[in-house]
Amino acid sequence: MTVLTVKGLHKSFGGVKAVQDVHFSVAAGELLALIGPNGAGKSTCFNMLNGQLRPDAGEVTLLGTPLVGLAPRQIWRLGVGRTFQITATFNSMTVRENVQMALLSYHNRLMSLWRPANRLYRDEAMALLERVGMVDQSERACGILAYGDLKRVELAIALANNPKLLLMDEPTAGMAPSERIGLMDLTARLARQDNIAVLFTEHDMDVVFAQADRIIVLDRGRLIAEGSPEEVRQNEQVQAVYLGSGAVFAEAH
């Protein structure tokens, strides 16, 4: 089942055509990696999907619902969870409270002026933290957490609204190499369990080739390749783009 469909996406900044005629789709339970060298238009593309940028032209639909023109918060209400390249959490709250916030929002309980927030959806929050392996740190403040742990908290927050689609911008950026595969492994497991479509951008080719079901490659705003990891690896155009960029992916993977 196709969850996200993107057609004819265009975006220019002044004279720079950042994204041109990009189209792809993600199916439920599928991990689609969006890769490309620096400046290829990955982030621009991403920000048009999550509502932070408005495309000049093109169509983005989530299970048939058009997303273009909606604010990030409206897109979230339709069932899109997000993690950020640089983690964004509420630093003055505990790990559990961070997840509780997402749950409170999901259940439309934010306007409440009286009941202590701390006691609402506590068990649900703990269950989500259990899934990402953060139960033992649930009472610590996010402001003092290690970066890798914050990434897992973000994942728990992203799962709070039972998303149909997860958008992960550079999910492993800033993490130790040993933790990266682990995090994407966890993501893949959760996505398959819940049948969630996952779209992620990533620089680490180890992560991409180990976890992605399918890969799309952007270069200078255009889609240059699409296919299974093996197909993309063999693609000459992709090899040409990546040669010399420092990211080497040889047969060894």
């Binding site: 964004a88 630093n91 505990t94 916030m101 997402a102 999901y106 002026l113 009941r115 927030a117």
Partner: protein
């Protein structure tokens, strides 16, 4: 309006713009580099005018050299005062949270005001006209003072010199670099200490010069500090923080608008007389409100670069546990038995403390959990005062009902003002709140027929059953304790959490479906309404009110209470309001210079406990193991 009138008002506007530009440019440069909002900048201007007055008197009123020597020397002296302030106080708190730096500069305002009072006395001092420029030239048959012509030239000349300094010297390049990214400049090995001190010198020098040049035009007086600082804020915000050209443009725009309002005078529209002269008091704030909503970073400003790792991370909220409530209960019992002492004076003081605790509590709610600093919170206090008083006096409703008109009026005001304010953040938001407060103040101040103008309103007598001091005391106490309890509940409820979420990470809040602005807007209204309640209680506890209730100084009092108590602790406003009100009362009874003593006390506290009183106590208790630390 005739052509000659237009020309003359235009020239008046140009002359008025010069001093405004000098002060604002100094403020802007200091903010750009040090990120300190120097509330004492108006005080430096005031010192400039006083010192220049004294020097000119000393050198002789009619000597040209004496006049200009006095003006320049005064500016230099003020520059050096700026250096001393930077080296002795501000340098120690660059790493402290932004709000603490603000508190320190508030304290300086208090100290400088009393120093000026001590040296020059409370009388207005009008300096001589500039020797050699005492005449006037004829422009279209009207007289324009020669001195104004000179002022018209000075503004652009200083702008040009500053431009040369900023673009052609190594120092200027460093200042521009630091304005863009202070940490990076430090990382590149630039001696920041010297840079900051020299920037303070330049900023203070410009403020002093702006003041000194006004000697022939306006009398030196003690109210100048706060009027000038609010004018300068407006100019800097309209022009864009850190932009010198923007400050010039904004100073021109505002001075012209003011000049034309005076020039137009009274106009009859549809049978009613509109007084544009009265509009001068608000026109700059109206311009600022419009500019901020259309161009949130000012005319020539840029969005502020995020600062790295300089903000303290607030620890998570503890659920209000048994310890908390037992301390509150103990306090309430103490307050309940207080009337048994039979000391009427004590009851008056306790009523004041209770009212200002609620006022500070609402401001803390905005500044702490909601992360919106308000420089104009007095607006809601005052709207509450006047709302209740007017309903009581004009509609003849009983006091019991009139009290509720206070929060209603203030809540409505906060809904209207807040709608604009939540579109901004940080310093810009703070400035806009100040603008709205000034608008509210000047409406109350000028609307003689309705609000009693500068005389205020009298005859706010409580109902008969409240005539007894003790009964009134208990009723007011009940309202204040109830108000504070409500705020604490809200902070711990989902609504309070949403506000904190929006403050901690607007990006994440948006990504989990939260419309941050909408919640901030309601938060603003709640804080405003409760501040209005404290205002209404104040009105009936005093029996009379004046525009003072919504003046800048009241807002500053509130800020000092909150910052003194500590922004990060819920009990902060209680401690802050109690200590502040008591100190003010205690010192004011014994000396004329209570402001200076208060200011010095605040400075000592700021330098010694950068987390506020309550924060310090909490830290000590945690260290002693009396309080459990949740965040390991």
């Amino acid at each position: 309006m005739s052509l000659s009138n237009i020309v003359i008002q235009f020239l008046n506007g140009l002359a008025g713009a010069s001093s405004l530009f000098l002060v604002a440019a100094g403020l802007s440069i200091i903010f750009g580099v040090s990120r300190i909002v120097n509330f004492a900048h108006g005080s430096l201007y005031m010192l400039g005018i006083y010192i220049a007055y004294s020097l000119i008197e000393f050198f002789g009123r009619s000597s040209i050299l004496g006049f200009w020597g006095g003006v320049l020397l005064a500016a230099l002296i003020v520059g050096l005062i700026g250096v001393v302030i930077e080296m002795v106080i501000l340098r120690r708190i660059y790493r402290a949270p932004e709000l603490f730096q603000l508190l320190a500069t508030f304290a300086l305002v208090l100290v400088i005001k009393d120093v000026a009072l001590y040296i020059w006395g409370a009388e207005d001092l009008l300096g001589p006209r500039a020797p050699g420029l005492r005449g006037a030239v004829q422009v279209f048959g009207r007289r324009l003072p020669e001195y104004d012509l000179l002022l018209i030239v000075i503004g652009p000349v200083v702008l040009g010199l500053l431009w040369l300094l900023m673009s052609r010297t190594r120092w200027g390049t460093l200042v521009r670099a630091a304005t863009q990214d202070r940490e990076m400049v430090g990382a590149l090995g630039v001696n920041q200490t010297f840079l900051f001190t020299s920037v303070f010198f330049l900023g203070a020098f410009l403020a002093g010069l702006g003041g000194a040049l006004q000697v022939p035009r306006e009398p030196a007086q003690l109210m100048l500090d706060l009027t000038v600082i609010s004018d300068a804020f407006v100019v800097v915000v309209v022009g864009g923080m850190g932009s010198i050209g923007g400050a010039f443009l904004a100073a021109l725009l505002i001075a012209q608008a003011k000049a034309f309002c005076i020039g137009i005078g009274d106009v009859v529209v549809f049978g009613t007389t509109l007084s544009f002269t009265k509009f001068t008091l608000v026109v700059e704030f109206v311009i600022m409100a419009i500019v901020l909503v259309v161009r949130p970073w000012g005319l020539l400003g840029k969005p502020q670069a995020a600062q790295r790792g300089s903000t303290m991370v607030e620890p998570p909220l503890h659920p209000l546990g048994k310890t908390f409530w037992s301390v509150v209960l103990g306090l309430v019992i103490l307050l309940a038995v207080a009337p048994l002492g039979g000391d009427d004076y004590l009851l008056v003081l306790l009523v004041d403390i209770a009212i200002f605790t609620l006022f500070a509590g609402t401001l803390h709610f905005l500044m702490g959990p909601a992360g919106m600093v308000s420089f104009g919170h007095a607006a809601y206090f005052g709207l509450g005062c006047y709302g209740a008083a007017l309903v009581f006096l004009k509609l003849k409703l009983p006091m019991e009902l009139a009290i509720f008109a206070g929060p209603l009026a203030a809540g409505l005001g906060a809904l209207i003002f807040g709608w604009f304010c939540v579109r901004l953040s940080g310093v810009y938001l703070a400035m806009l709140t100040l603008a709205f407060a000034q608008i509210a103040w000047s409406v109350v101040f000028q609307w003689d027929e309705f609000t009693g103008g500068s005389n205020g309103l009298i005859g706010l007598w409580p109902s008969d059953w409240l005539k007894d001091r003790t009964v009134l005391y208990f009723v007011i106490l009940a309202f204040c304790v109830g108000g504070m309890a409500f705020i604490w509940r809200v902070v711990h409820a989902p609504f309070g959490y949403v506000l904190r979420a929006g403050r901690d990470s607007p990006l994440r809040a948006d990504a989990i479906g939260i419309d941050v602005r909408r919640f901030q807007w309601f938060g603003f209204a709640i804080a405003g309404a409760l501040a209005g309640l404290s205002g209404a209680l104040f009105a009936f506890s005093k029996g009379s009110i004046s525009p003072e209730t919504l003046a800048v100084s009241r807002s500053v009092d509130g800020l000092v209470m909150v910052l003194l108590g500590g922004v990060q602790t819920l009990t902060g406003p209680v401690a802050g309001a109690a200590v502040f009100t008591w100190l003010q009362d205690e010192i004011a009874r014994n000396t004329e210079y209570w402001r200076a003593i208060l200011g010095i006390t605040i400075l000592v506290i700021v330098l010694a406990f950068p987390q506020g009183i309550a924060g310090f106590v909490k830290q000590m208790m945690t260290r002693k193991g009396l309080l459990k630390e949740v965040a390991a």
